[in-house]
Symmetry: D3
Subunit: 308 residues, 6 copies
C-alpha cells in the first residue's frame, strides 16, 4: 500500500503511516512486512467502523483516523531511510495530526520520536519492550540499529533521559556498563521482575508519574516483543518471560486515555515467524485499535475502567 500525499488526506486527527523497514534488525529480519500484516490481520469488515465492545466507542470516527499508506524506503541504506521517516512523521505533526507509525524494526523510533519532539518540544517517551535499546553501537560497531535508538534519542537531545520510562525489560542484554549509562541519564527501566514483585498497575503508575512530571506530551513506543514470545512469536528478537497480551492491551488503552499521546509507534512485527494463525499481527492490530480507543475515550471524557 504505497503512501499517499498528506494533502490528499483532509484534516485527520490521527494518521497511520507504514514504515516497511527492517535493515536495523540484528537478528531475524522481516518487520518490513509488519505494516501490511497489521493492516490485513483479522476478520473485521472493510467498513471503517470499529465499535469497541466495552465502551461502544468507534475511535476511527471519533478521532478521524486516516491510513496514509507505506513510505518508500531505500533498502539497505539505514541513514537515508531513517531521515526519510523523520521527514514524513514531522510532516504529519505539522499537519496537525497525530502520527501512529507501523514498523518496521525499532530503529525507526529514533526518527519517529525525534520528529515528534521537533514539533511538540519536551516530550516523555513511554517505552514497552523486552529490551532497553540503549546500545552504544550495533554488534558490528555501527551507530544506527534497532538496538540503539533510545541512546541516539538521548544523545541527540531530542528526548531527555529523565523523560524515558521503559516497561517490560528482561533477559541477558545489555551489560552493566550500559545499564550504568542508562541510570546516569535518569532513565527509569521497569523489569519484568519489578512487575512480578509489585504488580503491573503499580509499576505503570509509577513509571508514568515519573516520565510525565512536568511534561504534557507523550510518545508511546510499543515493541511487540514486550509480550511473551509464546503470545507474540512473530518478531525478530523474542525474549521469554514477557507480558501477556491482555496485560499489554489493557495497559495501553488505559495510558492512551490518561496521557496526552502526540505520537506512537508499534514495532517489530515480523510475520514470517508468526505461524499460520497470524496471532502476532492480529495482536498488533488490536494494540493500535486499543490505543486509538483510549485516545477516543480521553477525547470524549469517558471515565476509566478498573484494569491494569
Amino acid at each position: 500500500m504505497p503512501a499517499r500525499p498528506l494533502d490528499d488526506l483532509g484534516d485527520p486527527g490521527v494518521v497511520i503511516l507504514g514504515a516497511p523497514f527492517d535493515w536495523g534488525a540484528s537478528y531475524r529480519p522481516g518487520a518490513r512486512f509488519g505494516p501490511k500484516a497489521i493492516r490485513d490481520a483479522g476478520y473485521l469488515g472493510f467498513d471503517g467502523y470499529r465499535p469497541h465492545l466495552p465502551t461502544g466507542i468507534d475511535a476511527l470516527g471519533v478521532l478521524g483516523v486516516v491510513d496514509a499508506g507505506d513510505l518508500n524506503l531505500p533498502v539497505g541504506y539505514i541513514e537515508q531511510s531513517l531521515d526519510h521517516i523523520a521527514d514524513a512523521v514531522e510532516g504529519v505533526c505539522r499537519h496537525g495530526s497525530i502520527p501512529i507509525v507501523l514498523g518496521g524494526d525499532h530503529a525507526i523510533t529514533f526518527p519517529n520520536a525525534r520528529a515528534v519532539a521537533a514539533v511538540h518540544g519536551d516530550i516523555a517517551l513511554v517505552h514497552f519492550d523486552a529490551h532497553a535499546d540503549t546500545g552504544d553501537q550495533s554488534a558490528s560497531g555501527m551507530p544506527l540499529s534497532h538496538g540503539t535508538p533510545m541512546r541516539r534519542l538521548i544523545e541527540s537531545g531530542a528526548v531527555a533521559g529523565h523523560r524515558f520510562v521503559q516497561i517490560g525489560l528482561r533477559g541477558y542484554w545489555p551489560g552493566p556498563e550500559t545499564v550504568t549509562w542508562m541510570q546516569e541519564q535518569g532513565m527509569r527501566s521497569y523489569l519484568m521482575r519489578d512487575i512480578g514483585e509489585r504488580g503491573l498497575r503499580a509499576v505503570v503508575d509509577e513509571a508514568v508519574d515519573y516520565a510525565t512530571d512536568g511534561a504534557d506530551a507523550v510518545f508511546l513506543s510499543v515493541d511487540i516483543d514486550v509480550v511473551d514470545p509464546s503470545m507474540a512469536p512473530g518478531t525478530g528478537t523474542p525474549e521469554p518471560g514477557g507480558l501477556t497480551s491482555r496485560e499489554l492491551l489493557d495497559t495501553l488503552r488505559r495510558l492512551a486515555r490518561e496521557l496526552n499521546i502526540v505520537g506512537a509507534d508499534v514495532v517489530e512485527v515480523a510475520p514470517a515467524y508468526d505461524g499460520p494463525g497470524e496471532t502476532t499481527a492480529l495482536l498488533a492490530n488490536r494494540v493500535v485499535l486499543d490505543i486509538l480507543n483510549g485516545m477516543a475515550e480521553r477525547r470524549l471524557g469517558v471515565a476509566g475502567d478498573n484494569l491494569p
Copy 2:
C-alpha cells in the same frame, strides 16, 4: 469417521457427534476438520480409558460415553445442513443420551440448542465466546451464519433471552444497536473487562446464578475462541485478549459438576491455522474431557475443588 446409527450404540449416557460444518464461517473456514482434529489430538491410548489425575475418575466409563461419528452434511447448503444437525441432536436426546457436538463453526449452536430445548423444555444456555454471536444477519445479509445463532435461538423461542449468559466477550463487534437488543432480551454478557475487574470466579458464579434461576437444564456452548488467540490460534475469528486455557478448563469442569448439563458443543476449531504443535485441537480435546469429568464428578457426588 462417518456417523453410525443410534440404534447401534446401545444405551450411552453421552453421545459424541461430529458436525463437520464450516459454511457458516464469515472469515477463515476449516472448522469442518474440527471433529477429526479434536478426536486425533494428543498422546493418550486407544483404550477408551481416561483416568483424570486429580480425581482418579474415568468419565468415559462412569458416564457411558460413545462416539457416534460424523454427520454427512451438504457443503454449501446451510439451511439443510443445520436442519440435519437438529434432527440428529434431537434424536440423541430422545434416545435418552446427552449430546456433545464437536463443531464445526458456531452456526451449529442454533440447531444444537434448539433440538435440546425441543426435548428438555426451558433450558439455560451458558456461552463461552469472544463474540456475542447475536448479529441480526451476516455481512452479506443472510439470516444463518456463525455470527447469528444466539439471535435465531431467541427469536425462534427455543431459548429465552434471560436464560442466556455469555462469558469472555471482547473486541470490536457487534455495535451498540445489537448490544441494546441483547439487553432488551435479558441476556447477560460478561466481558473480559468484567473478568479483569472482578475476577473470573465471581463473574462465572453470578452468570450461572442468573441463567439457571428457575431452570434446571443447561446447554453449554464453548467457542474455543474464548481463549486468547495465542493459546488457541487454530480458529476462524480470533480476538486477542481472551481467557487462558487453564482458566477455561478449570471453569468448565466446575460448571459441569455444578450444573445439570443436558447438551453441549465445542466449536470453531479450525486446524489449518493451528501450527505444527496442534495445540488448539488438543485444548479442545481436553475441553471435552474436562466437561465429561465434571459431569462424572456430579454423578458420583464428588465434592468440588477450589478452582475458578
Copy 3:
C-alpha cells in the same frame, strides 16, 4: 556438535552435555534435535557472555560453564544409549563438574540422576513435568521409556521415593494404581490443581522442604511440557493447562539460588512441532540460562528477589 573429551575442557564448574535421544518417546519423536535447537535459539552473540539484566551477573563466567557437545548415541538401542549417557554424566561428576544435560526425551533422567547419585549419594530430585513418568512399563510393555524413568530410579535404589517432588502434574495419566504406588514410595506430587488453589510459591516451598529434608544435593529435572502447550508447543506429549513460561523461569532461578544443584536436565524439546517462531527452544535456552544464573547468584551470595 559432536562431543569433546572431558580432558580437553579444563576445569569447568558446569558442563553442558547434549543427549540427542528420542527413542524413549511414546508419541511424537524429535527431541533428538533438542540439544541443537536449544543451543541455536535466540539472538544473543557468540561471545560467551550472558549478563543477566536483573542482577548483572554473567553466570557463564562466574561458574565456568563449558559446552562439551553431543554424545554419539545408538539410535533405536535404548539400553545401550542410556548406559552410555550414564557413563558420560558420571564422568562429568567425577571430573568435579556439575552436569546439565540437554535432552532428548525424559527417559534420559534415569541415567542422568542415577549417575549423579552414584557420585553424590543421597540426592533429592525436584521434577517439573506435566506427567509423573512413573509408569511400570511402556504402552508396549517395555521397562525403558520416557514414561518410566522415575519408577526405574526408585526401584534401582538410585533415588529414594521420599526424595522425589513433582510439580505441575495434570491430565489423564497415569491411573489410580500407579498413583497409589507413587504415594507408597513417599513421592510428593503437586498438581496444577494444587498450584491453582494454593499458589505456585507455597507449593514450591513445601515441595522443596519435603524433598531436601536431610538431603543436601539436588538434581533438577525440567520437562519443558510442564509449561502449557500454547507456550511450549515444541514437545512430544503436550498436556493443556500448565505453567506459564514466566512462572517456570522465575521458579527455576529461585530454586537454583536456594538449593545445592549437583546436576540438572532440560528435556522433551522437539523442534519439529515448535512453529516458525521456535519459541519452545528459546524458552528452554532461557531455562538453562536462568538455572545457571540462580547457581551463580548462590555462589556469589546474592540475596533473593521476591518472585514465586
Copy 4:
C-alpha cells in the same frame, strides 16, 4: 478488496473480478482467500506495469486491464452466491470487457461460463484440471458443488458437451458411470496418461482443434490443481501426478495467443495449505499474467514461440 461498480472502471479490455467463494469445496476449504492471495503474491511493484521478459510486452497496458475487486457473496448460501457471480460476470461481458475471475472453488465456473455464454453464444470451454468436475451430485447429494459445474453447464444448455475439452485428468474419480455420461455428451478428456504417452503439445493441439471446430469464442478455466500437488500444494483437492508449473504456464500463454478468449477463471487456490513460500498463489498470479500476455500477443500479432 471490495468490488467497485463497473461504471467507475472506464472502458477496460479485461476486468479482473474476485470471487471469494469456497462453500462448494468438498474437502479443504479456504479458496475464498484465493483472490487476495493471488493479488498479493510476489515481488513486483505497485506500478501497474508488467513487461514480459521474453516478449517485452506489457499486457496490462496493451489490453487495458482493470481490477474490479471482490464480490460480496453470502457465505453458506451456494445458490444465491452463484447467481450473484453470474450477474456480475454477465455485467462485465455486456460492458464489452473480458472477465477473468479469480476463484474461489471450481463451483464458480458454472456461473462464470454460463454468463459468458449468455452474451457470446456458442462457446468452447477449455478446462485444465486434475478432475472432470462432472459429478451428478455432491457426496451429500446436492446439485451444486465444485465437483459438478461441468455437468450443470452441459445440462443447462449453456455450453454444449462437444465444446468441452479437459486436460490433465487423473486419479481415482469419477467412476465409470460418469465417464460414460461424459463420452455420451461428446466431451473430450485428456488424461495425464495421454500426455505421458503422446506429449503435451500434441494433446493440447488436438484438444483445441476439437473444441473450437466451428466455435470462435473460448472460455478458459484453469483449476490450479492440474499442476502436481508438490508444485501447487495450496489447493483443496490435490491429486498427485500432474503437470509441472512450466508446462502449464507455457501452454496457457500459447492458447491465449492462438484462441479468442472471451472469459477465463483461475480457481482452487487455497492459501492455508500453501506453506510459507506461498508458491501456489504466486503460480496462480503468473497464470493470470501469462494468459494476459498471450492475449496481448494475439492483439499485437506477435508470432508464436515454439513451446508446448
Copy 5:
C-alpha cells in the same frame, strides 16, 4: 488405528499393515506417523471404492484389500520391534494374502522381505530409493538401522544379492568400500545419473530383467525419498536430485502389472516435515493405490499403457 487379528479379516487378497516404527532413523524421526498420514491423506470418500480414472478398475474390490491396522511396537527396542514385524508379515503371507506394509522407516524392510522370503522362497527385491541402505552398521556402530536393511537381508540369506535391483540412488553416501561390497554381492544399482543418461524406462526394464531372471516372486520396496525432496519433503533423509512423482507413480503401476508382486512396503513418510499441504503423505497414498491398481490390471489381464 490398532491392528486387528488376521482371523477377523476374512480371506483378503491384500492386507495393508501399518508399522509405526522410526527408531531405525538416523536423522529426522517421525515415520512412525507415516501409516496414519498415508491413510488420512486426500479427499476421497470412506466408501472403500477407488475407481482408477485411466482404466476404470477398482483395485480394492478386484483384489480384496483389507486394512488390518497398526502393529503395537515397542518404542526404542529395535530388535524386538523388527522381530514383531517379521512375525506379523509372515502371518499375512501364510494366511494366503499379499502384505503391503506402510512404514515406518526403512529398517522394516529387513523383517518385511525376510518374512515374505520365508514363505515364498527365492524372491527378487526391486528397491526404489535415494540410498543404497547397504551400510555395514549405523553411524554409532549398530547392526540394525534404516541404513543397513539390504545388507542384513543379503547376509542373512533371505534375499540373494543378485536378486537385488536398486533404482534412483544418488548423493554422497555410501563410500567406495560399501559400493565394492554391493557389486561383489551381484546387486544392481541404478543411479539417477543412469536414468538421466539412458532414460527411466530403459533403466527399469533392464533392472527388472536382471532381478527377475529365474525368480518369479517380487518384493517391491518403495522409499518415498526416491522422489526429489521438493516433491516429497516429508521424509527423514531427503537427497536432492530425485525422480518426479509422476515418474514414480507411472513406473510402479507398470511394474505391479508386469511382475508377480508377493509383498511390498512404502516407507520413510515423516509427516512432521511435510508442510501444510501434506503432499508427501498424499503421494504415498497414491503410491499404494497405483501399486494395487497395477496388481489388479495384472489379475484382469489388462494390456499395458505406454508409460515409463
Copy 6:
C-alpha cells in the same frame, strides 16, 4: 559460526565463506540465515568426508576444502558491508585459494566477482538466475541492491559485458530499456523459453563457449531462484517457471568439471520461507557439493558423464 582468520586455515584449495547479508533484498529478507541453513542442511555426518556416489570422489579431501565461517557485517550499511565482503574474498584469492561464498542476497556478487577479478584479471561470469540483476537502481533509487550487481560489475569495469552469460531468466522484469542496455554491453541472456525450445544442454554449451572465448578463469554465480519456486521456495524473489533441481545440479557439476572456476557464490537462500522440510537449504548444500565435485573431477582428470 564466526569467521576465522585465513592464517589459521593452512593452505586450502577452496575456502567456504559465509556472507550473512540480506539488506540488499528488495522483497523478502532472510538470506542472512542462508549460510547457517546451507551448512546445517541434511543428514550427512560431521566427518568431513563426502564420497560422491556416481564417481566415488571425496571432493573435500581432493581439493582441500576449509570452512572459514561467517563474516561480521554491519546490518543496514550496504556500502560498508559490500566493501568488507570484497576485502575478505580478495584475501582468499591472494591466499591462493578459491573462494566459494555462501549468501546472502545477490548484491554480494558485486564484491565477490570484483574481488576475484582484481586478482585473476579478465574473468567470465556464468550466472544462473531467474532475474537479470542488471537494474540501474533499486526501486527506491539507490545504486546497491540485489537487483543491480551485474550492472555495477560491468560499469565498474570489473567484468566485461561480453564475458557475462545468464541462464534461466524469465518473468516480468526488467523492462525493455534495461534489456537493450544488456544487449549493448554484449551480455548473453538465455531465457527459460530458450531452454524450452532448444534444450538445456545446447543452451549451456553455447553460453559457456561465448563467455569463455579467450578467457580462462570463470566466476560461477548461482542464484537459487533459478530453480522453480516449487522446488526452491526458501528464497526472496521467487519466479515461477524455472529449472528443476536435477537440471541445476547436473549442469553445475558439468560446468565445474569443464571450466576453470576461480570463484563462486550460491545466493538467495532465505530459510524462513522454506517450509519444515528445509528443501531449499538442502538443495543449496548439494549445489555447493556438486560444484566441488565437478572441480575435483577436473583436478583428477575424470571423464565426463553424459548429462546436461
